[in-house]
């Protein structure tokens, strides 16, 4: 490979300027001409029949243009199970479910009119725990489940309210347990948390009365998937739907799928062609968008005295909330690697995604990996303790290495896991506890260290298409459907295009995202974009480069193969002074307004699909991301407060296309992981109501809550990835809570099985232990 000029450099973001000046326009900022303002009415009951909705007073309110209920929107949608109505039909399934909506001339009017809508309910029993909701005899939350439109991969179970049952079957776990010297069984739980992207949710929609065409302006992380989902729901051909993506103020998984979009679309059918904006405020965003799956995990392992793992069995209940959304795929892709990145001959996993009467769970950065890691990685430390082994040593003995056959049947390559373990541990001076403990200020402060590691698959197979244009001024435009959600894709993809065409980065521009003109992309999820779209942009750039070389060949009187690119020019390899600016080549051949276009399409072929009975697959993922994080914590035995002293995070990214950006992703992931470990919990009370739907009561990590963070980039190249790159966005928070949990257990000698590690929980755990000892 030729020497890289831009890829691999810590270049500052291409979108930073517009973000620091306030010029950047986000979905929440967007104002359309002649726009109406929407307001949503939400269910106040967790599970109830709708007896009556009275919209009379709202309709009469001056300035109101439309009032709609489920009767006006007879459509349903969903990622893989079409169970979710645009507005509730006949019954509600959680507090916060959209029931009715108003469009009015201004925000105040919409709000006042929405408050006049009366809804009468007849309550039904509510299920608030996934483990309870799937017990035999539980009443169905979705009576018509069997009749819903579903994807082929959905596996149901003979249990109530289960919308997906994932099965992994490798070897014979019972035999594995019999052959083990030590068998340990534990139960771990994680509560519901929320993405809490700083930009709340909103959507704008307009229906053209003449053509019936629906246009939606929304900061959605998967515009093409949304387009398909909307078209399927409305029964319209794809070309009748258009999505335009303004900038997105963070998402972390919350802004995929459809949430505000259906309300805006349903209203737009009743406004005589005027566009309507529906905004959720922060409270509405908390209760009525998406959350991360609460989970209950049972884990049982058998291990030899030597530390070799023999068998592992897991049963996982994923709380789907009221609608399936992405629960089936979270259940599949979270349950599959939940037993950890280890060589284990006998493995059995049952993952159940279970409906409850709580806010809807969906994609959340990490996609099921944090839940599995919270259980598996603390369980590993408990095994190590019982074996009298160092937790790092136990992991090094069992972790995946190149050439291993993973327990799901895939031969692994490019495994940088060991290096992440060693580097993350070194960074917090693993094993040198005496130095650290000598610095303790008071006898009630206890210090400990812990680490945790993960592997994470990416959604596979998926397709990314791209186009790269060169215009007569030498400007390069990249058409890519990856959404800039803050992760830095516009910078990374610009670097890729600039690298392949050897133009300065300033010459590259990302085209705005409009599904009418941008080629298809599966989604901006799953840490898939650098790899998939990076490959697609690279191939499109190569395509246009080849065309340009062909065009320039007669102009430079040289064969195509004798030409080379540098500094925005094409030149003779042997005589670099014989050169033409690339724009000049385009201009000479195609005129001043001409441009040359290269196209591409990239997907990773998996061969056979995942076997639904065994969970086996030769290629479950295009690539795997590996990471280890290590924490040093200080716990106050008098208050239960956990203070982090430092945290390292070593991530195998394959190749860092932009190290500055990689560091930012790792640090941001860590902060989110620390928040989920120590503070975050979206509290749903016994009536099904969210008790803390505000930033005052839902504690995000602030600048004062975070320790010294040590991001470490490990590069174990992925041969198929662009320049060797894998992905990075999602794993950042996945091992964090387990690493902290292990540090706390190391400090106190107490294992805490439930998140978050709030002072109260830690305090009572200490009290219980002291009582036991006394």
């Amino acid at each position: 490979m030729a020497e890289l000029t831009i890829v691999g450099k810590p270049i500052t973001r291409v979108d930073a300027q517009e973000k620091v000046t306030g010029e950047a326009v986000y979905g929440y900022d967007l104002v359309l001409p002649d726009m109406l303002y929407g307001k949503t009415v939400f269910s106040t009951r967790p599970h109830a029949k709708i007896k009556r909705i009275d919209t009379g007073k709202a309709r009469e309110y001056p300035g109101v243009v439309a009032v709609i209920t489920g009767k006006d929107a007879p459509w349903t949608h969903g990622e893989s199970i079409k169970d979710k109505p645009f507005l509730a039909h006949d019954k509600v399934r959680y507090i916060g479910e959209p029931v009715a909506a108003v469009a009015a001339e201004d925000e105040d009017t919409a709000q006042a009119a929405a408050a006049l809508i009366e809804v009468e309910y007849e309550d039904l029993p509510a299920y608030l725990s996934p483990e309870e909701a799937c017990k035999p005899g539980a009443l169905p939350i979705h009576e018509d489940f069997a009749g819903y439109r579903k994807s082929d991969f959905i596996v149901t179970a003979p249990l109530p309210n289960v919308c997906e049952h994932f099965k992994l079957r490798t070897g014979d776990v019972e035999r594995g347990f019999r052959e083990s010297d030590l068998v340990l069984e534990e139960r771990y739980t994680l509560p519901t948390i929320q993405h809490a992207a700083m930009e709340p949710h909103s959507a704008h929609a307009q229906v053209d009365p003449a053509s019936g065409r629906v246009t939606i302006w929304v900061a959605n992380d998967a515009p093409f998937r949304a387009l398909h989902e909307i078209a399927e729901a409305l029964g319209l051909p794809l070309e009748k739907i258009r999505l335009i993506n303004p900038l997105q103020g963070g998402g972390f998984g919350s802004k995929g799928g459809l949430k505000v979009e259906p309300i805006a679309i349903a209203l737009a059918y009743h406004t005589g062609g005027r566009p309507v904006r529906v905004k959720f405020n922060r409270q509405e965003t908390f209760i009525s968008t998406l959350t991360r799956h609460e989970a209950i995990l049972y884990i049982k392992s058998g291990v030899k005295k030597s530390g070799s793992l023999c068998a592992r069995q897991m049963t996982i209940y994923w709380g789907a909330g009221a609608y399936a959304e992405k629960s089936p795929t979270v259940c599949i892709r979270g349950s599959l690697p939940a037993p950890g990145p280890y060589r284990i001959p006998h493995v059995k996993v049952d993952g159940y995604a279970v409906y409850t009467n709580k806010p809807v769970s969906g994609a959340f950065r990490g996609y099921g990996i944090p839940q599995g890691a919270w259980a598996c990685e603390q369980h590993m430390d408990e095994l190590a303790k019982r074996l009298g082994m160092d937790p790092l040593e136990l992991r090094l003995k069992n972790v995946f290495v190149d050439g291993d056959l993973a327990y799901w049947g895939e031969k692994l390559h490019s495994v940088g896991l060991k290096e992440t373990l060693i580097k993350a541990a070194e960074a917090i001076e693993w094993g040198k506890d005496d130095i650290s403990k000598s610095k303790i200020r008071s006898p009630n402060l206890k210090r400990g260290k812990g680490l945790a590691c993960i592997s994470k698959p990416t959604r596979t197979p998926t397709l990314s298409k791209a186009a790269v244009l060169i215009d007569a001024s030498g400007g390069v435009t990249v058409l890519a459907g990856t959404v800039e959600i803050g992760q830095g894709c516009s910078t990374i993809l610009s670097q890729v295009a600039a690298e392949e065409l050897k133009v300065p980065l300033e010459k590259v521009r990302m085209a705005p995202l409009d599904t009418d003109v941008i080629p298809f992309d599966a989604s901006t999820t799953s840490s898939r974009s650098t790899y998939h779209m990076g490959n697609a942009v690279r191939l499109a750039a190569i395509d246009v480069r080849e065309k340009l070389a062909e065009m320039a060949s007669p102009m430079l009187e040289a064969g195509k193969d004798d030409l080379s690119f540098a500094d925005g020019k094409i030149h003779l390899k042997e005589q670099p002074q014989m050169a033409l600016p690339i724009g000049e080549v385009v201009r000479r051949r195609l005129g001043a307004s001409g441009f040359l276009r290269g196209d591409s399409s990239y997907t990773f072929e998996i061969g056979k699909d995942l076997d639904l009975e065994t969970g086996h697959s030769e290629h479950a993922s295009a690539f795997y991301m590996y990471a280890t994080q290590a924490a040093e914590a200080e716990v106050d035995e008098e208050t239960g407060r956990v203070r982090l002293l430092r945290m390292s995070a070593a991530h195998d990214v394959g190749k860092a296309i932009n190290p500055l950006n990689c560091e930012g992703q790792i640090e941001g992931g860590l902060a989110m992981g620390i928040g989920s470990a120590l503070h975050e919990h979206l509290v749903v009370d016994e009536t099904g109501k969210v008790r803390n739907p505000s930033f005052l009561d839902y504690h995000l990590a602030t600048s004062l809550d975070l320790p010294k963070m040590i991001p470490i980039i490990v590069e174990c190249p992925e041969p198929e990835g662009p320049y060797g790159a894998k992905g990075l966005g999602e794993p950042g928070l996945a091992p964090t809570p387990a690493a902290i949990g292990n540090a706390v257990a190391n400090a106190l000698g107490i294992r805490i099985y439930d998140l978050p590690l709030s002072p109260e929980r830690v305090y009572w755990a200490i009290r219980r232990m002291k009582k036991k000892v006394a």
Binding site: R13, V20, T21, V31, M198, G486, N661, G664
Partner: protein, 162 residues
């Protein structure tokens, strides 16, 4: 009830007529059309809407327009010095202080307020000053670094002028 108020906004005198109960945040975003100031919560908990009111940082979602007559307001759109970026803006670009960018305007205004008061803050002082400005992307490390770098640049400029 609409009320005519006279304010200095980013150095220019403007006299909007607004309902007295309109929040400063909505006045800026909806009535005047300056959407650089962001709405993150509307309840004063996240700092995304921070602007300078008579030189002091405030959550503009907690200020009523009716009380603003005679006020001097600086928003993110007024942070640049002429056509040049303010050193804090420059530092956020250089250090990777912005990711999704939604908290960035509020962070910048709060940072400016800090550095106006305290040109040489410690890391702890920076973290304390920014504790009411939530960021979900960066983990704050690069933001803190940017404020440190901006402080140094501003001090260098100040010394050069003397």
């Amino acid at each position: 009830m609409k009320k005519k108020i006279r304010i200095t906004l980013n150095g220019n005198v403007v006299s909007p007529e607004v309902p007295a109960h309109r929040l400063l945040l909505d006045l800026l975003r909806d009535e005047i059309g300056l959407t650089g100031t962001k709405e993150g919560c509307g309840t004063g908990d996240c700092g995304a809407c921070t602007v300078l009111l008579d030189g002091k940082p405030v959550n503009s979602c907690l200020v009523l327009s009716g009380e603003l007559d005679g006020a001097d307001i600086v928003t993110i759109e007024g942070l640049q010095i002429g056509r040049e970026l303010h050193p804090i803006q420059q530092a956020f670009i250089q250090d990777g202080g912005a990711q999704c960018g939604y908290c960035t305007p509020g962070m910048l205004m709060m940072s400016k307020a800090l550095l106006d008061e305290n040109p040489n803050p410690t890391e702890e002082e920076i973290r304390f000053a920014l504790a009411g400005n939530l960021c979900r992307c960066t983990g704050y490390a690069k933001i803190v670094k940017a404020v440190q770098d901006a402080a140094m640049e501003l001090r260098t400029r100040h010394t050069a002028r003397q």
